[in-house]
Subunit: 546 residues, 2 copies
Amino acid sequence: MSYGIESVPVELDPNSQAQKPRHAEFSRPKFLKLSNDDVEKGRDHFTREILYPGNGATKEPLPWNAGYAEVINAGKSDKNEDQSWIFAGVMISESGSKQLRPSKEYMGTSLAKREDSIAVVMFGVCDGHAGWGAALYVSKVLAVRISERLEAIKHFLFKSIETGSELIYKSPDKAYAPGDVIPTEMQETITTENLVTGVLEECFRELDDEIRRSLSTYDITGGCTCLVVLFMLGKVYVANAGDCRAILVRKKKQGGYCFEELSQDHNPITDRQRVQSIAYLQPELLGQYYGRLELERRARKKDVEKNEDGKPTRLLFRDAYMRGWARRDVTEENVNKIPMVIGRDKRARLLSTIGTTRGFGDHDLTCQSGMYIKPFMTSGPEITVYRLTEREHTPDDVIILASDGLWECLTNKEAVDSVSGTLAKFLVDDPMRYIQTAVELVRKARGESTARSWRTPNDEFASMDDISCFVIPVHQHMRAPKTLTSTAATAKRGADCSDFIDINAQVINFQTSNNSSEDLSQASDMNILIEFESSVQSLPVDESNV
Amino acid sequence: MSYGIESVPVELDPNSQAQKPRHAEFSRPKFLKLSNDDVEKGRDHFTREILYPGNGATKEPLPWNAGYAEVINAGKSDKNEDQSWIFAGVMISESGSKQLRPSKEYMGTSLAKREDSIAVVMFGVCDGHAGWGAALYVSKVLAVRISERLEAIKHFLFKSIETGSELIYKSPDKAYAPGDVIPTEMQETITTENLVTGVLEECFRELDDEIRRSLSTYDITGGCTCLVVLFMLGKVYVANAGDCRAILVRKKKQGGYCFEELSQDHNPITDRQRVQSIAYLQPELLGQYYGRLELERRARKKDVEKNEDGKPTRLLFRDAYMRGWARRDVTEENVNKIPMVIGRDKRARLLSTIGTTRGFGDHDLTCQSGMYIKPFMTSGPEITVYRLTEREHTPDDVIILASDGLWECLTNKEAVDSVSGTLAKFLVDDPMRYIQTAVELVRKARGESTARSWRTPNDEFASMDDISCFVIPVHQHMRAPKTLTSTAATAKRGADCSDFIDINAQVINFQTSNNSSEDLSQASDMNILIEFESSVQSLPVDESNV
């Protein structure tokens, strides 16, 4: 489990509770191309109709024919608080951009052959809670922030293609003799993979801060978890903050399927040591009702008072630094404290309030006793990197990326079985192959409506939560996504438009015009063309509150 | 990397700098049975003679014929600041103790057949720095503290043997329906393995606190890292705080050797995120000269001032929450700060001072600018558990447990090659087999003295540090160590002595007489017979300072 850490002072605008405009109208993912009728159907908590790209008004495939499906919750919130997004773009090298005039045909060929462009494809799922504001905001902005930061390091990336080495900095390979002075300058080895990892780590944290600052201007309700799967240069970077999950499902050569987890869930159980560590170092954050320790049972006043043997009761406990359990005398400070982590599995809660421990938003969230919860949460993601090029992948290898609504009802193994079963029913080039695989996963987790509740085929509780699920085939990862129409963007850029991809999702062209590749301080001034929803494009941040 | 954490207020007795008696006389491990001549030879920094059990005055094998060798440093400190220790004992069940009268023969047979006794064997290496006091203290006391705490949980351990289940607590297996109240009582599953892990975690931290408190009475110099390998009930528990290392070397069925790391080194590089996290949450601990961030180079005043483009310089940095690297504007607070972690590999230093980040002691250690270093260090160990019973082990499978003096010159692979080479030269029952394997490892790391310095066969710098190395065969793990004489202890216990093992190391008999197995609050009052060096046995703690 990564460090992540948190506990920044909660500095909210005193006017943050005042009535403010929404930062955007509620919507479902643009790439679904839903008609108004579809949107209405998808809002029904009783029928819980499954939405997918194929049942939208316009049938346009997702990148690599990726599959997707979603369903609303069974009534726990009015809106579907999950938000999914796709991003596809191409970075053009400084030198390449001068000559490059790619045609549509080019965009369909392998980018691996080209040294002057790098395809970037991202899939993301945000799972909102206590409102849909944060999830919508993150789904519209995070990819742009990531693309901006990738643009700022692209000369390193192109250089690594040119030189065939990912190394961008290596500490001097010197054998120190005893007595040598220790150098205070950096002694690290840095690769392009470290830089991309750093881009994701910084973007998550900066965007969360952006949300906090925006609260003085806009109503951005609740919080959200977020998982991003980024394909670039033969690698998959998975950045996770929360309890969405991505697994790689792979067909074995000898038959049968296996899987690898590409992320670890962050919840009060898995992230316990991090949240306890923060309370260990800043105990005042817990207030008077909560206690840092897990205890085998609630400690009572009489446990401290002398027992028959004249000694206090000893209880099993677990502290921040422990994976094991030990016994300790009950003291006054343990008495009647509610453990900061309670509950089991999906019912585990931090400060009796929230079931996830990482993500965006929640800046004003308090527990019943009035203490802020945000200092224990972090937007710091855990990054895993999977090297696609180390193995041959077939059209039967997919990444499942889904919100916890899916995973609370399906084990990884059950999801794999479902995927393999559906994939077998379709030809590899059927445009509905991965969509139906996603639909089937969602259907299994949602179950069917019965007189009592939503039940699985085994008559267990099915998921009452929002469910969102991508099924992404990975064998085409070195191909740029298929290009489609690009009227809007071309119109804006006019004759300067040298490269563009529109996959009916969020769209960006990475090419910059006057940006020296050496001068990273200019990154924020890049002339990036973003074809974006106007509600986000026009979102100002109140600088007085920065 | 485990959380560990730290930053307790440094509360030292104001008189701690006053002249106080040593807590014990300097000595080498008792199990070496060194004559005064041997001790003198071992102190010579110029010849650096290798000491091992076989060259001692008395030839008595270690448990399971384990191997051991040590050598002093090349002059960096007057004394050998490493301290190694062995502990062997048997826990007797409450019910069993009433009837059990084990003979010497019994002690040589497999304990796996007996349900009323549990063999406990520990090997430990402490690597001292800035004095030998802490290492000696820990080597004499830690095993006793661990055995006391094991005694306090033994009824769980015996119950697990009886029932065949390691489970001691299981949360109710209830399917929660949406809307159910979240229980605030413990919802965990706890096994005996969790308890033993907790014993080790607590003992490390408590002993470090014991050392801090003892400083008002005794002169306990410096600090030490520590690694404990504990064999019990078919498992190996490895508890590590610092940069000693244990690896399991295993001969493959198809020939050749492989290895598994049983511990992870803790140094300013591997433990960077933990120490940065503490500075992140308690920045005042760094003082004015140190900075939390790693930066690609020292930030200067002119980096903050406007560059030609009117903006500050952007430098690569890495913060507590990052595994990757990103760029950030240089700000005033970065200027001229020394990174809290500097240097590379074995030369990495925390606050320019210390090369390890976990261990015991160092309570009064400050860096040059006067800031305490202890708040960034932790005695919290990282525990790994290896299940010996999941695999068949042969006499060619060993655990190498050594101080960093060995590992700074030998890679794991080189150590494995050395081990396999030496083992092949001896019959499996040769009493010198594992000893010579340890000697050969130490010889390779120490190298040979040349005109210039100690050099390896490849003419590279050899280890100038103290080196201590156990080579422990694991195939006999279910056998109690061979029993030898037990005069001293028998004499003390008289007719009550029902069970005893003396392996010429530190010795303890776990049996208690009047202790209810249910009443753990009595644990500290146990009637434990400890045959111990008097210097430790009589060590009082100044209670006024507790």
